[in-house]
Each structure stands twice: as C-alpha cells, then as structure tokens.
C-alpha cells in the first residue's frame, strides 16, 4: 500500500467516524424528543400538509431504493427521468400549495385590517385552531 492510499484510507475512516457520530447524535436527539418532529408535516397554521406528507413518502422510498441498489450492485445507479419527474411533481406541488396558502393568508390579513388571521396561532398547537 502506497502512502497516498494510506492517506486516502485514513481520511475515509475519519469521515466515516465523524458522519457516524453526527448521525448517532441526530437519531439520539430525535429519540429523546430534543428535536421536535410534531410539526414535521404541518403548515404554518398547525394543520397537516398533504404535499409535505407526499414529499416525505417519496423521499424515504427513493432513499431506501437508492441505498438498496448501491449496496446490491456496488455502483451508483442511473436515475431514470420518470423518477425525477415524480420528485419534481411532488416538489412543485408543495411550492405551489405554499404559494396559494400564503396568498390566502395575505388576503385574510388585509381583510382583518392588518391583524393576522384568526386561524394563525401565535405558536403552533397540536389542536387545529378554530377558524370562525
């Protein structure tokens, strides 16, 4: 083994250990509820958002498949354009949905004379706010 190969190996191990520690820390904090996931798929009003849920599902499925195929073939597979289209549709829908939501919030704020709309709680609550 040459000294450059040895250096590469050492850097690889250092990165693996650092990434491993970071991953462990993240998972540990989520497990201990120090990273709060309550509003992972919620919008600003505290309601669950279908676009975010869709993004979450697609991300997990594609990440797991990518991992499975890389381990299986020891090579990075080519992503077909249809998969990218699926992710693009999902992401685009999320962005448009957010645009519509914020446009509605601006309209509500204007209608209530500069005050935030009633549905918008000061801080997110688990219970959906009353909209009447």
């Amino acid at each position: 083994m040459t000294k450059y190969e040895l250096l590469g190996l050492a850097i690889g191990w250092i990165l693996t250990i650092v990434i491993g520690l970071l991953l462990f820390k993240i998972v540990w904090k989520i497990w201990r509820d120090e990273i709060d996931l309550t509003y992972l798929i919620s919008d600003e009003l505290g309601y669950a958002s279908l676009s975010r849920f869709q993004m979450l599902l697609f991300s997990f499925v594609i990440a797991m498949s990518l991992f499975y195929l890389i381990v299986l073939k020891s090579d990075y597979p080519v992503l077909p354009k249809e998969i990218l289209a699926l992710l693009g549709i999902s992401g685009g829908s999320y962005v448009l949905s957010k645009g519509i939501q914020s446009s509605r919030d601006v309209g509500m704020t204007e209608a209530t004379g500069g005050k935030p709309p009633k549905e918008n709680p000061d801080k997110p609550t688990h219970e959906p706010a009353n909209g009447d």
């Binding site: 991992f67 073939k73 249809e82 699926l86 685009g92 959906p128």
Partner: protein, 124 residues
C-alpha cells in the same frame, strides 16, 4: 477499503431505518401532527375528496415503485401514464386549493362592497 465501505453502508442503513421507524411510529401514534390531513383549509373545514384521491394515488405509485425495485433490482422505468396520473392528481388537488382561495377572496370583496354600500345608505 472494503471494511470502510461496509461501515459506511451500515451507518446509512442505521440512519434510514432509524428515521423511518421513528417517524412511522410517531405518525401512527399521532405524536407527529396529522390533524386536518384530509380537510380543506382554504374554503372551510370540510372533508376534501381532492386530498383523498391524491393520498391514494401517492400510496399506489409508491407501492408499485417499491415492488418494481425489489423485483427488477433496478430503478424502475415508470410508465408515462403513472407520471401523468400523479401530475393530474396534484393538479386536481391544487385546483381545489386555488378555487378555495378564489372563493375566500371573492367573499372578502363582497363583504367590503356591502360595508361600503351600508355606509353610503347611512350617509357616511
């Protein structure tokens, strides 16, 4: 070098599995908020069929995708019709949302017109 890539793949597997298990568990036990997932928020609080169809289409495509990956051991070539179905489904969902927004804006405008005409009648 092989030990290194094995260690890295175990790390990634650990992260993915841990995240999926924790998030699925919290979704099922409602520790992650899923209130109003199928409710229309722009035009009232009614159940939204548009959201339900999007959820069903998403789950169907996801299932098909996972089965294809496991069967072919490759990224599947999704049929064009599936991509169109998802696109159409999202469009339907967004259309419903946009309609709700339009309805609420029209309602606000109508309220303002009524307020102004009331002021004019009262001599304001």
């Amino acid at each position: 070098m092989e030990t290194l890539s094995t260690a890295l793949s175990y790390e990634m597997l650990f992260l993915l599995v841990a995240l999926i298990v924790m998030i699925t568990y919290r979704l099922l036990t409602r520790k992650i908020n899923i209130e109003g997932l199928l409710l229309d928020k722009t035009s009232g609080r009614a159940f939204s069929p548009g959201r339900l169809q999007l959820l069903i289409v998403t789950l169907l495509i996801m299932t098909y995708y996972v089965m294809e990956v496991l069967e072919t051991k490759n990224f599947p070539n999704m049929p064009q019709s599936f991509v169109l179905a998802l696109g159409g489904s999202n469009l339907f969902y967004l259309g419903g949302k946009f309609y709700g927004l339009l309805a609420s804006k029209l309602e606000i405008a109508a309220t303002r017109i009524v307020e102004r005409s009331t002021k004019t009648v009262n001599g304001g």
